[in-house]
Symmetry: C2
Subunit: 986 residues, 2 copies
């Protein structure tokens, strides 16, 4: 950076040579620089919008999370490549939907439904069912317009949009529904065949009335299985023929429907009068019980002899009917609304075609159904309508009586369309299963992902055929229909639920463009689905919900992790937030106090955890319940240590898994470990999930280490813990503590209850003993009686107290009489003081000399001195404070020789501080009795004395703690948090 004088007039702007001015690796594009120079340093991570937009054309701009989509996309594109040109709404969505929605029920059961339920209730049934699918279609449209539609069809759309759990559950429900639909279509085809086309083909014929139904069912089973086998073979060898026949089947349906309309019009205009008469007759419901005789209300038949020996001339109701049953039987004729979405890959503009096509198809079919109900009710007599198998019309299809020009139009039309629908179900279901299996979200389905060389799903077809065979063995259309209704309703329920949830949770990515979508519609759809499920059969509904719930949970726990996003993560987020906010109501009551641990761990140079046993101990203390936060502080500059922090977090997590600690981990990069720990203690946890106890290890090598940081950090942490009103646990000799697989077979946990700070000392052994490692240890409580105390009374009081605390423990009161300070104590104090003095001087003189040299070097540079006085470290203060005037004088006198051994001579002459002597006396005496009584204890719990108010005594404090715990194997130093944690009240 050259410092040259420039002319003070600014008009003449000097040209700046680029070579001179790019210290930070700025790139060379001058145009670019001029307009976006402010952003140039980060262009690698934050690209210019123009360059982003360039890449936009093929939708591959978004790197994260889009890979999966891209793959799906590219597969879809490949498929497109060798497929017919892209389809529009009418051919691509409307017609397939129409074909899938119209089905066997319209021809075989709708007349019977109208006759039994009456026109009004039948309209009601049709209306509710159509509403349900319409609302579901709206939800589907919202999903389809919420971003680029993947090519894989509705399953892909739903699973990618709502996540693997919802997707898998919906997918499997959809699969089972489709499979049972296949069975239903086959049963319908057989029914048409055996009842109306070729009654002579029946294999089983019963002479008695009772046996007739059973014989028919057996016929259905045999023929159904044969049909299923043939169809499965057809699908196996030539799926492409099936697809080509689709339009033929659709034509059959449309011709049949037209034939009905024409017939109805003909009968309405030619045989006038029938119309209104029938309609008024059929307006109300006539539900029958099984075995009831069909009869006109105005013309009651004479009662047959009971039991009737011959069927003729009566027609009996074959099942007991009710509104709810009819709902279940009718519902399959409105399913099939996903047919359009399933072709998403072949559509020109899927986001436009799917909503319009599907909803138009639903409206069309709804209109047809509703008008059919009225037409049937108006044109056919009630008794005939209720005659399910057309016995009273010479064994013809009832709806056939209405058709024009001939009943055979409908019989043949419905037979072929039903066969076609069955074939399509058998084609579609295995493909769906294969797609689910390939997604690998349900591990046990994996095998069904494989297929023939050309990708046809052989195994999936086999499974589908087997499940469909189950449906065929049920043999009755009226029993199979409710089953598949249930699965479809379940599927629709999930779709609606997921849409409503996403709006209510305000998922940011949920921005459907479909303008008629509103969450209330989805919610209403969900309610209707649920209601229909329970209306049609509440036990099936419960079974279906349980199955779907199990699939959901199975995928949640065992499914492969999928990077799809789930759209309803907001739910768990809201749940967690709600639970946390509920907790946040001030500190808990004493009787609810439980240790919520913050375990402070240290990582060594290789980023391993230094004392993993601390975690073991924490897991023993928690016995798996409550909060544990594991924290560590890394020294360094966060701006450069992000990776290191992540790695440390991984290490902690790994260690937590190993020690089976369920909890959270936290890692702070701090310039000074001490600050980091202090801030971690202050800010860990969230809301009510705050730690109330800090666990940290004892700085083992503090005496050996020349660096005072280790024990200074320790003492500072003790001080911070106290200031934050938190409890503190310091296990000493943590490496000797038992692991989770080394239970103590016997022995004692000894508590030395010297001062009362909240009852932690009593609670901890109780909690530890909940864990198998400590379960067999008995608890002993010792307390110290002094001269003036009545130790017998004390023991009694203590026993009563423990009785009220409901804690079982042996009680002992140890008398500690006043004794003179021993020579040993005195000597030890002196040694301690001398040692710390010596160390301090060594450190001092070292840094001293270094600093002096530095000072000399920096002398003239006043700049260097700006740092003096700013950001003074406490260390220095600490050292400084012990260095009082006298000592400084003394120091100065001996200064010249302080680094030689002779320099220490005068230290020997220091007289020990009285308060140190007294403290040392306590430590020595207490240690004596503790070792005497508890030398064989598995664990000794001990009140931890507080650090001295005057930081000058810090080093001595460490020494006192050492003396206090000398000769004990495992010690747990305990400091209460200032609040009671145990109470004699319930």
């Amino acid at each position: 950076l050259g410092v040259t004088l420039i002319p003070s007039t600014i008009n003449a702007i000097p040209t700046i040579t680029p070579s001179e001015t790019k210290p930070h690796g700025v790139d060379d594009d001058d145009f670019y620089d001029r307009n976006l120079a402010l952003f140039e340093e980060e262009m690698d991570t934050r690209p210019k919008v123009s360059s982003l937009l360039n890449r936009l054309a093929n939708y591959t701009n978004l790197t994260q999370g889009a890979r999966e989509h891209e793959e799906a996309e590219s597969i879809g594109e490949k498929r497109k490549a060798h497929k017919s040109p892209q389809m529009g709404t009418f051919m691509g969505v409307y017609l397939p939907c129409l074909q899938n929605i119209f089905g066997v029920i319209l021809f075989l059961r709708l007349t019977w439904v109208v006759g039994t339920a009456g026109v009004l209730q039948a309209l009601c049934i049709v209306f509710i069912c159509c509403c349900c699918t319409l609302l579901t279609a709206i939800s589907m449209s919202a999903i389809a317009t919420n971003g680029v539609v993947p090519a894989g069809g509705s399953y892909f759309m739903i699973s990618r949009s709502l996540g693997p759990e919802f997707g898998g559950a919906v997918g499997l429900c959809f699969y089972l529904g489709t499979t049972f639909a296949g069975a239903m279509y086959i049963l319908g085809a057989i029914e048409i065949l055996l009842m109306y086309i070729a009654p002579w083909a029946a294999i089983f014929v019963s002479s008695s009335l009772d046996g007739e139904g059973a014989a028919m069912l057996n016929n259905m089973r045999v023929y159904g299985s044969i049909f299923l086998l043939l169809m499965a073979l057809l699908v196996f060898v030539g799926v492409k023929y099936v697809n080509k026949l689709a339009s033929v089947f659709l034509a059959c349906v449309i011709i049949s429907i037209l034939s009905i309309y024409t017939g109805a019009l003909v009968s309405a205009f030619i045989i006038t009068g029938t119309f209104s008469l029938c309609l008024s007759q059929n307006i109300w419901s006539v539900y029958l019980s099984k075995g009831d005789v069909l009869e006109k209300g105005s013309l009651p038949s004479p009662r047959p002899v009971h039991p009737p020996t011959n069927r003729l001339p009566y027609v009996f109701a074959d099942i007991t009917t009710s509104f709810t049953l009819l709902v279940g039987i009718f519902f399959p004729s409105v399913t099939g609304i996903m047919a359009g979405s399933n072709r998403s890959g072949d559509l020109k503009d899927a986001q436009r075609s799917i909503p319009i096509g599907t909803i138009m198809a639903i409206l069309t079919t709804s209109l047809v159904y509703l008008s059919s109900v009225v037409l049937f009710g108006a044109c056919i007599e009630g008794v005939v309508l209720r005659d399910k198998f057309g016995d009273s019309v010479k064994g013809n299809l009832v709806v056939g009586t209405l058709s024009w020009p001939s009943p055979w139009v409908i019989v043949i039309g419905s037979f072929f369309s039903t066969c076609g629908a069955g074939l399509q179900s058998l084609t579609g279901a295995p493909r769906l299963l294969q797609a689910i299996a390939k997604d690998n979200i349900i591990p046990f389905l994996r095998v069904f992902g494989h297929g023939k060389a050309n990708g046809e799903p052989t195994w999936a077809l086999l499974l589908t055929a087997l499940i469909a065979e189950l449906g065929i063995l049920i043999a009755s259309l009226d029993l199979v229909a409710p089953i598949l209704s249930m699965f479809f309703l379940m599927c629709y329920l999930f779709v609606n639920l997921a849409c409503a949830l996403q709006t209510l949770l305000r998922t940011p990515n949920w921005r459907p463009r479909f303008s008629y979508y509103h969450w209330t519609l989805s919610f209403l759809g969900m309610i209707i689905c649920l209601a229909l499920m329970f209306i049609s059969s509440w036990y099936y509904a419960i079974v279906a919900i349980v199955i779907a719930g199990m699939i959901y949970k199975y995928i949640e726990y065992h499914g492969a992790e999928k990077e799809w996003g789930d759209g309803i993560r907001g739910l768990s987020l809201s749940a967690a937030r709600y639970a946390l906010l509920r907790l946040e109501e001030g500190p808990p009551h004493t009787k609810n106090w439980r240790p919520q641990l913050l375990v402070l761990l240290k990582l060594d140079e290789d980023a391993y955890v230094k004392s993993p046993r601390l975690l073991t101990f924490a897991s023993q203390l928690k016995a798996g319940k409550g909060l544990t936060i594991v924290g560590t502080v890394i020294t360094g500059n966060y701006l450069h240590s992000y990776g290191e922090a992540l790695a440390a977090e991984q290490t902690l997590k790994h260690q937590m898994d190993k020690e089976k600690v369920k909890g959270f981990c936290q890692c702070i990069v701090a310039n000074k470990a001490r600050e980091g720990i202090s801030h971690m203690i202050q800010s860990s946890g969230l809301g009510g999930m705050r730690h109330n106890t800090v666990v940290m290890g004892w700085p083992l090598a503090w005496r050996q280490s020349e660096d005072p940081q280790s024990w200074k950090t320790f003492i500072n942490t003790v001080r911070v813990t106290t200031a934050a009103h938190l409890a503190l646990l310091v296990p000493k000799n943590i490496s000797l503590f038992p692991g989770n697989s080394e239970p103590c077979a016997e022995g004692y946990i000894d508590v030395w209850w010297i001062v009362h700070d909240g009852g932690m000392l009593m609670l901890l052994p109780f909690l530890l003993r909940q864990h198998k490692v400590w379960r067999k240890c008995a608890m002993r409580i010792f307390t110290v009686a002094q001269m003036e105390d009545n130790s017998i009374q004390m023991k009694k009081d203590l026993a009563t107290f423990l009785y009220h605390l409901r804690i079982e423990a042996d009680v002992e009161v140890v008398e500690m009489h006043n004794s003179d300070i021993s020579a040993y104590t005195y000597e030890r104090t002196l040694m301690m003081e001398q040692r710390s003095q010596m160390l301090r001087q060594m450190r001092l003189s070292k840094s001293d000399r270094e600093k002096e040299a530095q000072l000399v070097k920096d002398r003239n540079s006043m700049l260097r001195l700006t740092s003096i006085g700013s950001d003074d470290d406490e260390d220095t203060d600490g050292v400084h404070m012990t260095w009082t005037k006298e000592k400084a004088l003394q120091y100065r006198a001996t200064h010249s020789g302080c680094s030689t051994p002779e320099g220490f001579r005068d230290m020997l002459s220091i007289r020990p501080d009285h308060s140190n002597v007294r403290r040392m006396h306590t430590a020595v005496k207490l240690n004596e009795v503790i070792v005497n009584k508890s030398h064989d204890a598995r664990l000794v719990l001990l009140n931890m004395p507080g650090p001295p108010r005057n930081p000058a005594g810090d080093e001595n404090y460490m020494e006192f703690l050492e003396v206090l715990t000398e000769g004990l194997e495992r010690v747990l130093l305990v400091r209460g948090g200032g609040s009671e944690v145990i109470t004699i009240y319930s």
Copy 2:
């Protein structure tokens, strides 16, 4: 601290004078000091164990949370004081329980139950009911032995142990149960009176059979109401007489039972043969429908003409019976197990007496019931047993046929005992209600806490009488019994549930001493309660559960906060932990990304929030969903600032409430604000509840302030945010942002999308527009095209992109052509550089002079210098780094006069840095187009450039940002977190 030489031989220990050695206010007790000197500094907060134990005798040692108990205790003691001596197990628990358990059902319905259900099923009913109460008694015993028992009875025990929610729900269920029990007793008494003692007293008499039942019910209603009124009056005027009569009533019961046993023995031994014959007849159930005729199976009566005109000689079943109905009718005869616990205040050793007495009483009554079932079944003919009102035995009580010496013993005995039980219910229930009302946990009950001058609960009695009147209006014993069963079962269910939960959640305070308690027993009890509820009547059960649930939730939301602890707080803790652990599975998918904010607030000197609008803005951005953490850093030493931190937290919470931000707040006390903020950004949140976006204000007065800390902290925070991969939002002119009550009626939110860093710029306006304040603002997106870009294509691409993002916005591409750097830019850069140079020198020279003075003062003290080089602050580094060799030389040359105005002369000659010029050029040009296009926008969103890699440019960076946003009213500077937050995929 005197430094005197001491003799090097340690034997002669010098006596230390206390006056010399107590710098820290240590107290004077020498004995004490010697043994516990280590703990002496904290003796005020952590008392010696011996002094604690001294206070233990009267259980008042535990200060926290025990106050309430103490008050209750002292009330209890007062009561004790003017009451009879403390009672033992037999008189205090066993007999009261016995009296309460035995009741009207035994005499009036048990025979009928045996006859209808058969001996086996009757045994089954009795056994299940007794099991239920026995298990509940075990749970109650666990509660009673879990700490000191309060004097107020079972309600106090339960509510103090399980918390107000459970306590209130249990208490109200118990109250309603007791009240309905009162009604049932009165109905029973009337039944005995009108059926067996004085049939002539009936007021309504019906001649027809159909009307007879209704007439009887009306008689019950009239007499019942009269009885209720009389009893209520009796309770009102003289509750003490009622208590005195208790033993008389108990005697009645016992005499009646003895009379039955004697009678049974007499009939067994005298009329031998009846025994086994009847038993074999009665072993199986004979359930009847309403209106069935009672007849012997072996001797069927001829069918009466239908409808029967005269009642005689037939006896009809008056209700349809079933096993489940009988369970509901029998259950009230096992309730009353709380009677012992209710006297907890009068017991010598409540913890021993309650378990033993209650369980013994239950065992006794169970034995009596079981043996009675067998006796009744063995001694009385089935037809007679099924004859509920004894019509076939001349209108006598059926059980009376068995009694010895006379049926009247039982009739009179049962009448009086039933009246007594009714009286006791009417005495007990109002007191319970009063206790609940006085606790004030259910606000709307407050009025019932008041009473007469002597404390008798007048209003509560009135309410009780009214509710009992409801029961009496139902008039049938068989209809009232299931209602009260339901309430008692609900109460028992809660007790069992709470016990099981406390064990399963490992509540530390849950340490019941009762040795036969195990959570499986409580769990089993709970299951049995639930099963009995649903067995006896599933719709009543649902209603009862809904009522109890509503009470629970009502107390949770509206109840007064009670410092009782709830024993099941663990439940919410576990729930929160589970929810959080579920979340912790790595970063969310792009499509689930939602802003989770960490709002950094500053507090001013008076501890007010400096920019509360930051919170307003956060609340608008969240629209109430997702995570918000509000944090602040206080500068200071945590060891002394705990109170300040708490106060700051309160301020934040208050402000959050005011701005309706739902979230958490956090406060860190740090020596350096910068470190604190860095650590807060690193460690806030827990598990999956981590923030991903930092919101902070712009340091408004950074130019005016001489202290560089404010903007240095700002830039450091930007750097930390970037390092942590978090997004950053910096609203500028935050005070001009609209409040929550000032919706923008129209206008635009303008997005200036210059570089792409994850799509935050697109997502934020979408989220803001969900809030009512911004709903009416339209969104415009501007981007910048440069020379080489095809701006028409860019606009098209951008529109497509937004279409796929499903975000509605106007799109505009602004062309920024390459232009020469203007004189203005150049001048502005120069001014900026000069200004910062000048300020730096001013600061430098000031500290310089100060430091020099300091140095001179400290010269000789080498100690002071130990701080040099340790803990260097970055500030200094920052300043230092810009101070390169040349400048230093130059500086040295002009050093002598640097603090005078003339000293700045040579600064004017600095030539501006080229990269600064280029950046300034960008800022000026961008600002020009932004102001041009967006001057009228309600809000301008703008990419925030990153801080320079070289910290030397920090101050200039601030200047660039100022220039960039100059002339705009409300600006939101946005930096992405390095991950995509918006996707075109669904």
